[in-house]
């Protein structure tokens, strides 16, 4: 145990995700020995993000304005919506530079153990977006685990009656990897979802 405010700092840092007691201690002592200007920059960045960042009114992605960068961009295809669990999934899909449609962030996945049902996710907002007829395809890009699959099935059943095209990204082998290193479940899925080879 350290004295007073040093311990307070370590405790606060230790509450962050992915930071254990040892790392918290290291970060705290790094901050103590750092230049005051550097530390002020960090403090500023943290308070700025808390003050200025909001969630997009349309898709719930993180943004500094009412609408996020993607929802504001007229070049993005409004007829395709990619549904993801978290805002960080938007960044992951954006990195591919393959997808030119828009997003919808649910804010989690259905998980009764954690008490999360469809009403706790932004499902109603999604259904409102679909009602104006501009959207023709929904891509359900929730995580490929049990809860993500359940959420995707739930949404698919809800959306299908509207006559929209509902798709889900393929599960399977990582590109550039070796077949022998794939685990049985992934390999099994990849075999289930195999496709005809056009030559």
């Amino acid at each position: 145990m350290y004295e007073g405010i040093v311990q307070d700092l370590i405790d606060e840092l230790g509450r962050l995700p992915g930071v254990g007691p040892k790392s918290a201690q290291r970060i705290a002592f790094h901050l103590l020995s750092a230049e005051p200007a550097e530390v002020r920059k960090l403090v500023h960045a943290i308070s700025e993000v808390k003050e200025k960042i909001r969630f997009c009114e349309v898709c719930a992605n993180v943004t500094e304005d009412a609408l996020c960068r993607i929802c504001r961009d007229p070049r993005r295809d409004p007829s395709v919506i990619c549904v993801v669990e978290e805002a960080k999934d938007v960044v992951a899909v954006e990195r591919t530079r393959e997808f030119r449609g828009r997003y919808h962030v649910l804010g989690g996945a259905i998980s009764p153990i954690e008490g999360i049902g469809p009403d706790d996710l932004r499902v109603r907002e999604l259904m409102t977006r679909l009602s104006d007829g501009a959207v023709t395809e929904i891509i359900l890009a929730t995580d490929p685990n049990l809860e993500g699959e359940a959420t995707a099935t739930y949404l698919a059943r809800l959306i299908k009656p509207l006559g929209l095209k509902v798709t889900r990204p393929a599960s399977g082998l990582p590109v550039g990897g070796d077949l022998e290193y794939a685990d049985e479940v992934t390999l099994g899925r990849a075999f289930e979802g195999r496709r005809l080879l056009d030559v």
Partner: protein, 378 residues
Amino acid sequence: MHLELLSLTDFRSYSEVEIQLVPGGCAFVGPNGQGKTNLVEAIGYVATLGSHRAAGDAPLVRLGAERATVRAGLVRDDRKALVELEIVPGKSNRARINRADVPRAREVLGLLRTVLFAPEDLAIVKGDPSERRRFLDELLTVQSPRMVAVRSEYDRVLKQRNALLKTAGATVRSGKGDLRTLEIWDSHLASSGADLLAARLRLVAELGPLVEKAYDEVSAGGGAATMNYKCSLGPEAALVPDRDLLSAQLLEAISAARSQELDRGVSLVGPHRDDLVLQLGPLPTRGYASHGESWSYALALRLASYNLLRESGDTGMDPVLILDDVFAELDAERRQRLARLVGTAEQVLITAAVPADVPEELAGARYDVMAGEVRRVV
């Protein structure tokens, strides 16, 4: 396959021990409480990543030590492999194969195959249905490591669904809840349940005749041992190992049980409610079989498992047979018969309290176990 080396560090009562093993019979002999079973438990752990007598990993680590290490040298045909496992309670195990780290300890599953018979197995015959489900599921995972994933997926679906059922009952009764989320979990339960059920049905069909034969050989005409899979789908269900057919029947049964499930807040349909009914002649073993009959039945289940793995496995993949404290419970005649039955196995590991308990046919190499030390007797 057989084991040529077993080395333990801080495992159970052993601080450090290294044993060279030979094909054929290996007998560990010593008074009670000297650590014979700890040796076979360690071998079982390499094969299944679990203990046959402790639920968690904590009891496996020697009192006062932080971690336990098990090293096993395997020989299959002429090829050798060294498997090393580090057991740290509360953390995930670390594994090395041939001195190279592997990303998940799970990778070692399937390298060593064992069939272990221990006094605890009496519970398969006499105990709750959960013991018999575990017997089936463990054998399935030895046959195909993929079943570990199927099993854990099913358990996860079950937990999620039960959590939902607990709250759904109240919301539905109050009239504002909707059952659409429950239906999602119904379909997941049906599809992963069908996976597990199909695998169990296939296994029971293969195992049944082998159990009958093994029981007959162990008991020399003590009546016909048969087994029936009792399914929560009811007696009219078509129990064929077809995933789609089973999944459809499960869905139907789930919706039929809807109001009952909502009232009680638990899933009442699925392979987690099933049982394997063991019979001797016309009577179920549970409640009717004598101690000796139950013991023979448990032994027959393990011998049948051994024969099944031997028949269905690749050449050179014969499991290592482990008989923990078996012979003391059998009379001289049954001892001889059992010894002849297992005499053809590539390797049989036996524990016994006194040398006289080890039948001559199996007295290959003898090891004295005393106060945490193991010495080969020559």
